[in-house]
Assembly symmetry: C2
Homo-oligomer: 239 residues x 2
């Protein structure tokens, strides 16, 4: 059975303007690979309702899971929850369970649950809350879309809350061979080995470090024995 | 006149598997913002011909410019050039001008221009070459798509080659105000200021640094005087 597929949707002008460097995509890619969910696509869109709604609909229809990052805070530019609700034609409003979480949190910290903060309790009808042990305001899952915060520490905590509920597949095993010869010299034989192992993916990533030209050849697949065989062939060719 | 729009397409399994963290998107976002080209979307797709072809077609039809990164080296997994040619139904083969560049380069370095390296001279019919002062093998521009290498130093050099030929717009001016109050406290008044300046984009990015809860409010727009007015209003509210 093929592995479940996933896409990530990063929402935020701050990434596309170059102000902030996204850190969540790399984190999500790593943890999904570990549990055998294949991240097939990632997108970054701006804080624009039409762009967010179109991306949520398109990715949700194409992949088994969609993970979003960003735009669920208390300020006017946090429009992700409303856009996701719109994408699925669901009503959205302050929900009692999310409100109760925020009330308890702000009571503990002696702060006021004002109108802006209450926006973080807006949850589309039928969504399941995602636990946020870092700063309380929850994410949510609706259909196959997991809506999470953009702040990296909160994003990671929410991913940890979501993962146990996912059905993974065969984890991808990966093995890296460092070859200190220029990529252009090993490319021909490497291509032959790649052809001989159609169930593996062989990637070749050149480097130029301290004057040494070389390439990291990465073998990826689900069958450790097969990866071992391919590795042996590469070693025989290039060692 | 609105600014020209752009999208970026990052091609590579190594990003989606979490092996490599993309660095090119952040660089491109910064330089495009400086010249007034609005980066509206970024996508990462895997080394899959159908995915690459569909993304090139979709993004090329939607935005004024598309910048791709990755997949134009000498190895079997470098399939970007062929996919871009397919996306525009153009023939692709080794082209004399690109071949001449590679011949001179490998002659200088005393290396062989073998079949694998010659793959880097495959250029779609009608494309213009993009200069690569770092490692010679060129990128190319076809229609509104600029095809560049994934290795960050080469990507940056190719971007530098492409930029002078682009028509920019009004550079986005951005001003950041650091406010040491929790985001949820400033959100209400901040939203009012945002409403009063519909031609500006006001982003709010919370931080929690050394125990201080605060937010960076970023004002973005093309009119420096207007940004100054909004800044004054924010200072009056929060200073």
């Amino acid at each position: 059975m093929p592995n479940p597929t996933a896409a990530m949707l990063v929402i935020g002008d701050e990434i596309l303007s170059g102000r902030t460097r996204d850190a969540n995509m790399h984190h999500l890619a790593g943890v999904l690979t570990q549990i055998g969910v294949d991240l097939k696509e990632a997108r970054v869109v701006s804080d624009d309702p039409d762009a967010i709604i179109a991306a949520v609909r398109g990715l949700s229809a194409t992949y088994d899971h969609v993970f979003t990052s960003g735009g669920i805070g208390p300020t006017h530019d946090d429009i992700t929850a409303d856009c996701v609700a719109a994408a699925f034609d669901r009503p959205i409003d302050v929900r009692a369970d999310a409100r109760a979480l925020l009330e308890a949190h702000y009571q503990r910290s002696g702060q006021e649950l004002n109108a802006a903060r209450l926006r973080m309790a807006r949850i589309p009808d039928g969504a399941a809350l995602i636990d946020n042990p870092v700063s309380t305001a929850p994410g949510f899952t609706i259909e196959n879309v997991h809506v999470m915060a953009g702040v990296p520490s909160v994003f990671r905590a929410m991913v940890d809350s979501v993962l146990p509920g996912l059905t993974g597949g065969q984890p991808l095993i990966s093995d890296t061979l460092r070859i200190e010869r220029p990529e252009g010299e090993i490319a021909g034989p490497l291509g032959e080995v790649a052809k001989a192992f159609p169930d593996l993916s062989l990637g070749c990533y050149p480097f130029n470090k301290d004057g040494v030209l070389g390439a990291n050849v990465v073998l990826r697949g689900q069958d450790a024995a097969m990866i071992g065989q391919a590795r042996s062939q590469l070693l025989a060719l290039f060692a």
